[in-house]
Symmetry: C2
Subunit: 228 residues, 2 copies
DNA sequence: ATAATAAGTGAGTAATCACTCACTTTACAG
DNA sequence: CTGTAAAGTGAGTGATTACTCACTTATTAT
């Protein structure tokens, strides 16, 4: 129940899932049922019996495939990360190479909108991700900053460019990316993982608001980034 | 296991705890043990047997006092809220009446520093609060925005003043307070509830950074709040 | 068509869970 | 000192848990 996964095991699992392991009908049924139940009641409050019932599958089938309940959760979360990370990287490279004339505003606007759309398309699994990453300390330690490092360095390349162009304040890149994550992620978490009304949302307007917040804050007077 | 508390029950509990109900030694032992275990492993992954063991108390004693395990959690969280909310209110009134000449920067700086100190003094219970508020949907619905409404309106009074003085952008108050919460809370959650290294922190420096972020964002050029 | 492997089943199991209750100990008012 | 109520105890309980295993069914290679 406590900690059971280590970095190598995690990486191994990632590689395993990477190859197009044939996804049986029953397997996807299990996955979907688990995601739905985990997102509603959380991993700890969901029994394998419930999952089997909802998936219209024998309880044994779950264990035939995943061995343990914890492993089922891991597989679900890894599938999420496995899709998310490359998507971000690809977008970044694409933007970086094709549009050197891009402004901070366009860049941030694009990034925010893109990620919000992704989360909206994967609301349930995002919910599971957030809940369990907060709840399970060892899970968080193993998942966070495992595959995000190179994404971070890509952001830093952008930030440096924008700083040269005088569009970004001369603040430590670590602080800048943290600010971006704080503004976008916490909003996304609140709306998609903790509220119920994520249907009626004007994403374009929302993106503009968040972009503005990130670049300007709530104050009025501003000369440069000389304060820090 | 699912939902068991309603608004009235919650309010009732709050009133009960409000009066100085004599806190037996055993009771505080139970509370402390529960807070420690809940913050480590989460409510769902902690058994009453473990709590009793750590508190050096018979398991029956827990149920004599709290009736159910869920009620124990509620009492712990309510004690936290019960202290937090009045503290904020008092500070706000105090500042508002004594220093009308205050600037946004001073105000925000003061607020952030004050809340960070409070959270630092109550790290473990804050951790429980965050974990369970994210994990348990019905708990969140009942606790959030139950007693925060008047605090919010107090903030709005300040915001209006600062807008008049031209120190705050002409943005919707809802957006401003959300930005403040996003920047401060998500940072606090990350550092105090999800990381382990909250000991070696220069609070003054940290407060200044967060204040700057809130007021200026990460961009450079800025004329007014005309964008929104 | 057949053998071999994989997928799927569900009754069964030991462990653990939150909670109860008959009982003992403590606190304290008169 | 005595009687009464509250605080505290811990063995016991039925329900639920994740997981197993002997078995059947489906798939695939030859």
């Amino acid at each position: 129940m406590t900690l059971l996964m280590e970095k190598n095991i995690l990486d191994q699992l990632l590689k395993e899932t990477r190859q197009t392991k044939k996804q049986t009908d029953k397997l996807t049924q299990i996955d979907n049922a688990a995601i739905e139940l985990f997102s509603e009641k959380g991993f700890s409050n969901t029994s394998t019996k419930e999952i089997a019932l909802k998936a219209q599958v024998a309880e044994g089938t779950i264990f035939k495939h995943y061995g343990t309940k914890e492993n089922l959760l891991l597989n679900i979360l890894l599938k999420f990360i496995k899709v998310l990370i490359p998507a971000i990287k690809k977008d970044m490279i694409h933007k970086l190479e094709k549009q050197n004339f891009i402004t901070v505003e366009t860049f941030i606007h694009y990034f925010i909108k893109d990620r919000i759309n992704f989360i909206q398309d994967n609301t349930e699994i995002f919910k599971v991700f957030i809940k369990e990453i907060v709840y399970n300390d060892s899970l968080r330690k193993n998942l966070i900053s495992l595959h995000f490092e190179d994404v971070k360095s890509m952001f830093f390349r952008y930030f440096d460019i924008f700083k040269e162009k005088g569009e970004l304040a001369e603040i430590d890149n670590e602080i800048i990316i943290k600010l971006l994550l704080k503004i976008v992620l916490s909003e996304a978490i609140w709306v998609f993982a903790l509220s119920d009304n994520y249907k009626s949302i004007d994403i374009e307007k929302w993106t503009m608001e968040l972009t503005y917040e990130f670049l300007n804050g709530a104050g009025t007077k501003k000369v440069g980034g000389e304060q820090l």
